[in-house]
Amino acid sequence: MELALWTYEGPPHVGAMRIATSMRDVHYVIHAPQGDTYADLLFTMIERSQRRPPVTYTTFQARDLGGDTAGLVKTTVQDAYDRFKPAAMMVGESCTAELIQDQPGSLAQGMDLPVPVVPLELPAYSKKENWGASESFYYLVRHILANAPADQIASRPDPADASGRRPLANVLGPTSLGFRCRDDVIEIRKLLNLVGVDVNVVAPLEATTADLLQIPAADFNICLCPEIANTTCKWLKRTFSQPVVATVPIGVGATLDFVREIQEITGIDASAALDAELSRLPWYSRSVDSTYLTGKRLFIFGDGSHVVAAARIAREELAFEVVGIGTFSREMARDVRAAAEALELEALITDDYLDVEEAIANAQPELVLGTQMERHIAKRLGIPCAVISAPVHVQDFPARYSPQVGFEGANVIFDTWVHPLTMGLEEHLLHMFRDDFEFNDQAAPSHLHAGEGAAASEAPAPTTADNPDANSPASWTPDAEQELRKIPFFVRGKARRNTEAYARDAGHPNITIETLYEAKAHYAR
């Protein structure tokens, strides 16, 4: 057993629901008790979906257990087919049904429905949501392509006579409830158009079963969300020899790499996209106001791909210092470890919320990039935060256009990350007027409006950056403590940390005003 207060990912059948809900004409029947219908609200409330997820639950009860639960599966599948007339069905189970072993997938396959039936076996006691989404997408694509008559499957035009034809790409991975997938699809279409590539199929988001049959017509696949589409892209590569563009184009550098990768695969000339500076991020980052961003301490946590992308943007494009990095996704652990190594950090691979909270408190970052969970942690610790990865809440499905990928995505990222930080002139003013009452420690940056500011100042004492660390060896003399409080609050944590480290190394048991300034000189850059 594993103790969980909050969970980053739902169970694997919720991943399968995300695939079914993304598609336009697939219906998913889940053998599950009534309470599992809660998952509908993820789509209708968090994503504000206008339709119910195309999902039917058997909602068996205790009194059904001795009886014919298998019969219930069949009736439910038949009723769902008759009512919704989907072009394909996925049939599976949730954790409870896994224990009663009715094998709903095989039962449904034996029913001779006139549409493809994709059985899903997603072990609920060892796997999680993203894995479930990835497997379901793979099973669906494979099932449709492997079982359709050959003349219904689109084939790839001979690359040799591609003269004059623009290369065709599939964009795979965007999914319902994915982070900014809706806008990323629009942005990636714009980018590909600029590069000179036409989009063949986008899946699973808004795709039909018929679209899946068109997948083999593309010259290559873009694996936009590796968490969801990696397995499928690998299979397509093996089966249809479609190369995969694996770089996720989040951030300016990654977007340029992405374009270069396409250039290499297709041989087209993408200089139009490569040479013009199409994002405002580089100039905004070079402009003097951004000087104050230099070396801001950053903690990054989330799914794999957004974390890896964020680490690169942080270091190369904003000159932040990443002080902690990790993911809840075991499937993406290898990529995140590699990114961590490049930063000379050890990756935090955990889905235990308490571990993440502890790591953030210890790292004392000035900005946290994370999921909705890290937003809560950061709020409690009084640290600014920006959300970069699912799982997210309703406010992270903004009404405005806010992609993450491509050049516009980089602009959005610049604004989203920089806004929570105390910026430029404002920081100067805070420093100059720090003794004025308006600028006391309780005054949060003015852009942290009412709610957030209040939460920051209410943050419990023991874990905020400017409070004595419980296990700090050197003790502060009252004078030094007084002096420390004169240092502006947004750098005080760093000053405390450096001074304590200095005192420890120098073997000072007590920290005096002297020690404080010795440390300051020691760490001066």
Binding site: M1, E2, L3, A4, L5, W6, T7, E9, G10, P11, H13, V14, P33, Q34, G35, D36, T37, Y38, A39, D40, L41, L42, T44, M45, R48, S49, Q50, R51, R52, T56, Y57, T58, T59, F60, Q61, A62, L65, T76, D79, R83, S94, C95, T96, L99, I100, P123, A124, Y125, S126, K128, Y353, L354, E357, Q372, H376, I377, K379, R380, H393, A455
Partner: protein
């Protein structure tokens, strides 16, 4: 579908897909009420996910509930699962020395593998002798529906309650503290507390101090879903005072009058004590009556508050009831409520969500009370909705909340009138 007749109200039974939370959801409000208690679900990742989805945005990072998520290896052997549970409980309690009562909450997976949480609770209670009391109940979706999780929790607490021979009045059902205080003042003012000898609320604000129960205990239900709790109380010798539930002016008045009769308190005394709050409540209700009057209303089966709320909305707000869906119906608990419904009310017990939605679209109600999974899709089709979950989180009982209760239903209708987009 089959039909039964009850107090001249036809009840249609329906079976099919249900679209309703399981009893684990009750933890979301129970843990706020009893601040010294911790709720540990023994279940799966689904259970953990349900809880956090139902709880919505949580601003406290360490809530007093958690899930012991079973893994592949726990399913292999029973001894294993019990050892694992002990280990988890130890880790939990060492982190939270403030916890005095621990509820082990059963889920579908724990029940299907027949993990005996009752025995585990006994074993752990002995192990933490004196420090922590460990109790268990089922919140599983195969046994319980939404608010029924509170029922099973309170049932367990009743069984754990000490015995007493003292005469007292017990008010049973989780209420926000502010409502409890209001009701307490009213019961005092009516002279009911004095006549009863003692007044206690159940569940208590601290799980540590479960009120004693005995043959001289008489109890009023404050929530209409406490069927098992009612039976358990009767099993301990307590006597139920059947009454309307304290929703609306009529409901709250009748609730107090029933208690007064039970303790031989003069009716006039109650009328006098209620005069001012009743007048206030009527005035507050007036603000919303014109919005609700004559509007048609449809309940999807959900919180089990449907019947008393339907009664209030029909008789005090003038709404017209089209269909009252209830997940299940206990005629005993609702014995006073059912006859108070308008004669032609259509009650549907159980659910086949797709068929029900078909009927709904044919009936085109002005307002639908439903769960979170259905609200936006209905709105997108032009049907105005009210989320039922708000009804279990908001203070809606008693005179002082009559206006707020009506407002919850009036707001979506008024909003629809205001919006020009």
């Amino acid at each position: 579908m089959s039909s039964a007749t009850l107090c001249d109200i036809p009840v249609t039974l329906e079976r099919g897909q249900r679209e309703v939370f399981c009893g684990l959801t009750g933890i979301v409000w129970l843990h706020r009420k009893m601040q010294d208690a911790f709720f540990l679900v023994v279940g799966s990742r689904t259970c953990a996910h349900l809880l956090q989805s139902a709880a919505g945005v949580m601003i406290f990072s360490e809530p007093r509930f958690a899930t012991a998520i079973m893994q592949e290896k726990d399913l292999a052997g029973m001894a294993d699962a019990n050892d694992e549970l002990d280990r988890i409980v130890e880790r939990l309690l060492s982190r939270r020395p403030d916890i005095k009562t621990l509820f082990l909450v059963g889920s579908c997976p724990s029940e299907v593998i027949k993990l005996d949480l009752g025995r585990a609770a006994q074993r752990l209670s002995v192990a933490y002798n004196g420090q922590v009391r460990v109790l268990s109940y089922s919140g599983s979706g195969i046994e319980t529906t939404f608010t029924e999780g509170e029922d099973t929790c309170l049932e367990t607490m009743v069984r754990a309650a000490p015995q007493t021979d003292e005469q007292q009045l017990l008010v049973v059902g989780t209420l926000p503290d502010v409502v409890e205080d209001q009701l307490e003042r009213l019961l005092d003012a009516c002279g009911i507390t004095e006549a009863a000898g003692k007044l206690a609320f159940f569940p208590p604000r601290r799980a540590e101090t479960i009120p004693a129960i005995g043959p001289k205990t008489r109890f009023l239900l404050a929530q209409p879903f406490l069927n098992a709790t009612r039976r358990a109380l009767i099993g301990q010798g307590a006597v139920h005072i059947p009454a309307l539930f304290p929703f609306g002016v009529e409901g709250t008045s009748a609730w107090l009058h029933s208690a007064a009769r039970a303790f031989d308190v003069r009716k006039e005394r109650v009328d006098t004590a209620c005069a001012a709050p009743v007048a206030r409540a009527r005035k507050a209700l007036e603000h919303y009556r014109h919005t609700l009057q004559g509007k048609t209303l449809w309940f999807m089966p959900d919180s089990q508050l449907e019947i008393p709320l339907a009664r209030f909305l029909a008789s005090e707000c003038g709404m017209q009831l089209l269909e009252i869906g209830v997940p299940y119906l206990d005629q005993q608990t609702l014995s006073v409520e059912l006859p108070a419904l308008p004669e032609n009310s259509g009650i549907v017990e159980g659910q086949d969500v797709d068929k029900q939605l078909e009927r709904l679209h044919q009936a085109t109600p002005d307002l639908v009370v439903c769960g979170l999974g259905l609200a936006n899709p209905l709105e997108a089709q032009g049907v105005t909705s009210k989320w039922s979950i708000e009804l279990v989180f908001s203070p809606i009982h008693g005179f002082e909340q009559v206006g707020d209760l009506a407002e919850l239903f009036a707001r979506p209708l008024q909003r629809k009138l205001k919006l020009a987009v």
